[in-house]
């Protein structure tokens, strides 16, 4: 086992061990933090498929995160008010069942990613960055002006949604749900990177001409990657909203996109566990620095600047060497 794999194993076990210990020590706040790490890491795993493998610098992933969040908020709000979502052409009721909410979140964010991706992937480079950012902001402003679902104030639900057979109100049980989903996503991302699709997508990032010359269209690869990426980030959004029992336009704002990207980079872009380590560090910093100063993001900015200018492999790169492993 090389150092990166060792580190990955340690991190994923630690992420499980801490909440288990906190559960016994009756420190629910720690469990909530660990849950937040797992959920943000999931969002990062999604982004990393587009960004790390595909090289698509999307500054609009908050759109998918927020759509997932609103999928939860809207369905749950209708369920708690006993108002159907639609009566025509067929009766659609709200729901407080997580699996249904997740499905809706994944489908809705995948559709949004399909539309946004289809348009923005017609361009590349700096255009792509600005356009993904702009479409993300469009949804942000839309959410603000959409008063039916809370507008600027967002949407609260009273009780966390349910999962068959579990009591989601127990912090540890909700954590375990998120943890299992994160592990599944990591497994999928690892398989994807090695699969024919991952090989071609990675090649398209490194050299577009090469991919075209062997008869593969980069646009289709990238659009598919963007949709998968958006769907995973959307699922993370639904969980995040459930964790807070609240969704607001902030989830859609470009700062959220930037933050997801930041912790993917801090962890190590293109590394399987980059998002996990990055999210953990991000939450840790937020609470350590946040305890010292209200203006902790200054330090975050400084740290990010140093990493970008001087340590481009992120944390995993610093620990296990710069080369991204391929086998």
């Amino acid at each position: 086992m090389n150092r990166e794999k060792l580190l990955n194993t340690a991190v994923i076990l630690l992420l499980l061990a801490i909440p288990l210990w906190a559960h016994m020590a009756e420190e629910p706040f720690l469990i909530t933090l660990a849950t937040k790490v797992a959920i943000l890491a999931l969002a990062g795993v999604g982004l990393n498929i587009a960004l790390g493998i595909g090289g698509l610098v999307s500054l609009g992933h908050a759109a998918f995160f927020g759509i997932g969040g609103y999928a939860m908020g809207i369905l749950a709000a209708h369920a708690q008010n006993y108002e159907p979502l639609a009566e025509w052409p067929m009766l659609i009721e709200g729901t407080n069942q997580m699996p249904v909410i997740w499905l809706v979140a994944v489908v809705a964010s995948a559709l949004a990613a399909l539309v946004i991706g289809a348009l923005s992937l017609r361009t590349s480079g700096v255009y792509f960055i600005m356009i993904t950012l702009a479409f993300g902001q469009m949804l942000y402003y839309f959410a603000i002006s959409w008063t039916a679902y809370g507008g600027e104030d967002g949407l609260s639900i009273w009780v966390r949604n349910e999962f068959p057979g579990l009591n989601t109100l127990v912090p540890l049980e909700f954590f375990l749900i998120c943890y299992v989903i994160l592990c599944a996503a990591l497994w999928f991302a690892a398989r994807l990177a090695r699969a024919p699709f991952g090989l071609a997508l990675s090649a398209a990032r490194q050299c577009e001409a090469r991919v075209e010359t062997v008869g593969i269209t980069p646009y289709q690869l990238r659009l598919t990657a963007f949709v998968i990426s958006g769907a995973i980030t959307g699922l993370a959004g639904a969980l995040f909203a459930d964790l807070n029992r609240f969704v607001s336009p902030t989830m859609l704002s470009w700062h959220t996109s930037g933050e997801i990207m930041i912790f993917v980079i801090i962890g190590g872009v293109g590394r399987l566990f980059g998002p996990v380590i990055g999210a953990a560090l991000f939450i840790l910093l937020e609470h350590l620095l946040g305890g010292i100063s209200d203006y902790w993001q200054i330090y975050l900015g400084g740290l990010l600047l140093i990493i970008v200018l001087y340590a481009r492999g992120g944390v995993i790169g610093a620990i296990s060497g710069r080369e991204v492993a391929h086998d």
């Binding site: 699969a195 024919p196 090989l199 050299c207 090469r210 991919v211 075209e212 062997v214 269209t217």
Partner: protein, 259 residues
Amino acid sequence: MTDMTDPSGAGQVLKVSDLSKSFGALQASKNITLDLRAGEIHALIGPNGAGKSTLIKQISGELRPDSGSVSLLGRPVDDLDRVARARMGLGRTFQISALAMEFTVLQNAVLGALGARGGVFRFLGNVMRDKALVAQAEHALERVGLLSDAKRRTADLSHGQRRQLEVAVALTLQPKLFLMDEPMAGLGAGGSQALTGFLDTLRHEAPILLVEHDMDAVFALADRISVLVYGEVIATGTTEEIRNNAEVQRAYLGEEEPV
């Protein structure tokens, strides 16, 4: 202009008719007509800046000509992009290596085999454990003499080895014709000789349109040669005819005495 193209069109794998392309005031291609027939190596020579690469790009579909037409295997391909032309069987190597530099040598070759086979949209399953793909990739690497380097990172290869890998990736596509843009550059005498020997046998699998500066290789390999000067084909003919063509001597070979 000496035009030796086959008027009947029999056995034409590639046909370029009356192709023109300008960049602003610079006319890079001027009414270029040439063809490539089954079983042959057709060399394209000319001084730097004569428009060889521009012509290759128009044939492969990277650049659109201003006017004129390209046919592959008897079918006009002017409306097809380079992906579609690659799928029709056009295998191309680049003058400046276009390879996935983070990949191993084998991964680059597997990518070629994957492109040829199809099935890119598979999300599970380790592509490097796909026996058929790897076998095809390794076979191609072996043919160009790179199999022993299969595990090396492409970025660590020498320039010559990258050219060999370019050829290997093109081989994995099992193309109907090859477009090779200076495959010998950076190879050194030994490598160049080995590749010359290999291309000599390769022509029977698929004909080659060969852009090359190495005149020894060109005169050893080519069935026919076209000479491009200032975007214009000033002569096409057998090696013998080109060697004895006064216009070519003046325009191009003057200072560089052929073998």
